[in-house]
Amino acid sequence: MPARVDRHLMPKQDPQERIRNFDEVALGYSPDTAVEEAKRCIGCPKRPCVAGCPVEVDIPSFVKLIAEGRFVEAARKVKEKNSLPAICGRVCPQETQCEQRCTLGKKGKPVAIGALERFAADYERTSSEGAKNDPKVAARVSAGRVAVVGSGPAGLTCAADLARMGYKVVLFESLHSTGGVLRYGIPEFRLPKAIVDEEVNYVKSLGVEIRANTLVGKTVTLDELFRDGFDAVFLGTGAGLPHFLGIPGENLNGVYSANEFLTRSNLMKAYLFPEYDTPIWVGKRVAVVGAGNVAMDAARTALRLGAEKVTIVYRRSRAEMPARLEEIENAEEEGVELMLLTNPIRVLGDERGWVRGMECIRMELGEPDESGRRRPVPVQGSEFVIDIDTMISAVGTDPNPLLVRSVPGLKIGRHGNVIVNEETGETSVPGVFAGGDIVTGSATVIAAMGAGKIAARGIDEYIRAKRERSG
């Protein structure tokens, strides 16, 4: 029996170095390391890891191909189920999905499935062997036409799957560029935009037509799409509507929603201002309210834009922080400070309308609430003020209401989320399907992709049934 090898760490840029650039933090495995790591997989017959993957990637098979040095084949194996492997390899919360179920995790550290997925995808993208794309489009030509609204992971996946089944797909996106949150939300240092471009190009290579700058509901309505001969529509419009805390002073200058801050920086490349025209302003002392991935991204972006002190302000304790552990660690390594069990109650401004401070109150954890987490309760009389000149509010988003509210008969839940049949993605309006954050509220890239996949199957069945009925 070979000696047990520990999980291989992903090499990273040095924290002191990386807070001065927007280059990718995690550097990826070398081929040797990838082979070594892949060899740790014991190829369990029951394949528990696969059950943990929302898009059912054949994990043991692709890991085995890497172990054998067949890197391009490994990437192709992943792509049989997952059209965006280089993205998922970077941002999927593997620790709560496939890797959580990995047998090796019972006694030690699970196989680094995410890092291996990233390795295979990157290898295929950059090697000459991989350049020959061989998308297998089904022979069944022109099975029908489908309009996909929104080019986030849900829309891209749904479009790719339908194209593979032989449908003519047009993907509509309101922004000038594709990718949804992958483009405007997740920063370059975590997910280089060149990779989003490549994976979008892969989807295009399957025959999907992309129309940017088209706000469905305004530039073209859903009715018009059906009138133009689309057989079905998939709504993957995400959860883009930012919440605010609703406390006094939130409209002062220097208070951003994380969406505005990140959109300026990522989509509009304001971190390259004035080479790029979109401005961004960040002060010396920044408070980021919230503790999810979005908050971590905003905090780390603020550091890179020149902030001297960045503090995450969160009303619960460390154990409840919703961000991925890896991202919390990255942020802390970079010098982001955590101020836990603290809730802002007022933003203070100066006479010119700019933020100068934030009044907070200490919190303690009480009884569990409906989310199962202990409810934070304010400690009477514990108010205090912190000096800040920038505040970024990262306290969540709601499903984007613009289109869905304009569709008569569409059943919508309490939080503005679209209600669907979970097995097919179908909404209450015939021919209209939905998936991703618009259905679940803000979730994950892979969950959105899973929903896109389910809907693609649902749409295929729906169109075929319709064709059969009309003979």
Partner: protein, 283 residues
């Protein structure tokens, strides 16, 4: 890509473009705007749809050169193209037949007010337009406004044409003279809209303003454009840009307009240096 079919210089630093955009043209209604991006490094800036021709598939925009992006836009010539346009955006104005409407326009605000005046006029509403500018040369859209108004009154800050003073002075005189329109529409710089609201509040006349908050996406995703209306935070790109002027917190909005002043100045200076640099080399 959206080709510029026609370019007109309406006044110093105010230009009009007619641009190909068939999908926007066929859906445009008064009160709508669009967001434009000049080129790959450009920012997204909102402009009002000043007119549209669904048959020809074109829209008209009128803009004042105030900073880097609008200056650069002004250098484009007929036949050249704008990279991206998205729209129509915003909640269109609900326009019903009324007895009398007063349209108060300041500077380039006359361009966005024109489609509203036109729509009211077409329904048979009596339209009284008050158009103000700094000086005679800056008065634009005269023929168009006269074609859709029952009366047009002009004001210039320097007295070179019409009433000598602010257009809000004209408005005050009209209301003090006893006119009670069903509605006042005021579009122009923030201080002018605020002043117009102050006048109409005095006489209890409903007033609709169109807010030019700083935007990024224009679709309700970033919150950059938020304004306080009636004590509530609204996203002006989606819920507006038109609001009841008496409920708008103008002080807050005016402060928010200065958020990127330093950066805007820097961009403009760099752009000027660059343009002048090019000229030198050409000589």
């Amino acid at each position: 890509m959206h080709r510029i079919i026609k370019k007109e210089e309406l006044a110093p630093r105010i230009k009009l473009f007619v641009v190909e955009a068939p999908e926007i043209a066929s859906h445009a209604r008064p009160g709508h705007f669009f967001v434009l991006r000049l080129h790959d490094r450009g920012e997204r800036i909102p402009l009002t749809i000043a007119d549209s021709d669904p048959g020809a598939g074109t829209i008209t925009m009128v803009f004042q050169e105030v900073g880097k992006s609008t200056y650069e836009l002004g250098t484009l010539e007929e036949g050249e193209s704008i990279l991206d346009l998205v729209g129509p955006l915003g909640t269109p104005r609900e326009i019903r037949r009324l007895d009398t409407v007063v349209c108060v326009a300041g500077g380039v605000g006359v361009a966005p007010i024109y489609p509203e005046a036109k729509a009211f006029h077409e329904l048979g509403t009596r339209v009284i337009s008050l158009v103000g500018a700094q000086t005679k040369d800056m008065l634009i859209f005269k023929d168009r406004m006269e074609a859709v108004s029952d009366e047009v009154h002009y004001a210039t800050d320097d007295g070179s044409f019409g009433y000598h003073g602010f257009v809000t002075g004209l408005l005050h005189d009209l209301l003090a003279g006893g006119l009670r329109p069903d509605e006042v529409v005021a579009i122009g710089p923030l201080p002018m809209m605020r002043a117009a609201c102050k006048v109409t509040a005095e006489f209890g006349v409903k007033t609709v303003v169109s807010l030019n908050a700083i935007m990024v996406d224009g679709t309700g995703m970033c919150g950059s454009c938020r304004v306080t209306v009636d004590g509530k935070t609204m996203f002006s790109c989606v819920e507006g840009p038109a609001f009841d002027g008496h409920k708008v917190d103008f002080g807050e909005l005016m402060a928010r307009q200065t958020r990127f002043l330093t950066e805007e100045k820097l961009a403009m200076e760099r752009y000027k240096a660059h343009v002048e640099g090019c000229k030198c080399r050409r000589e």
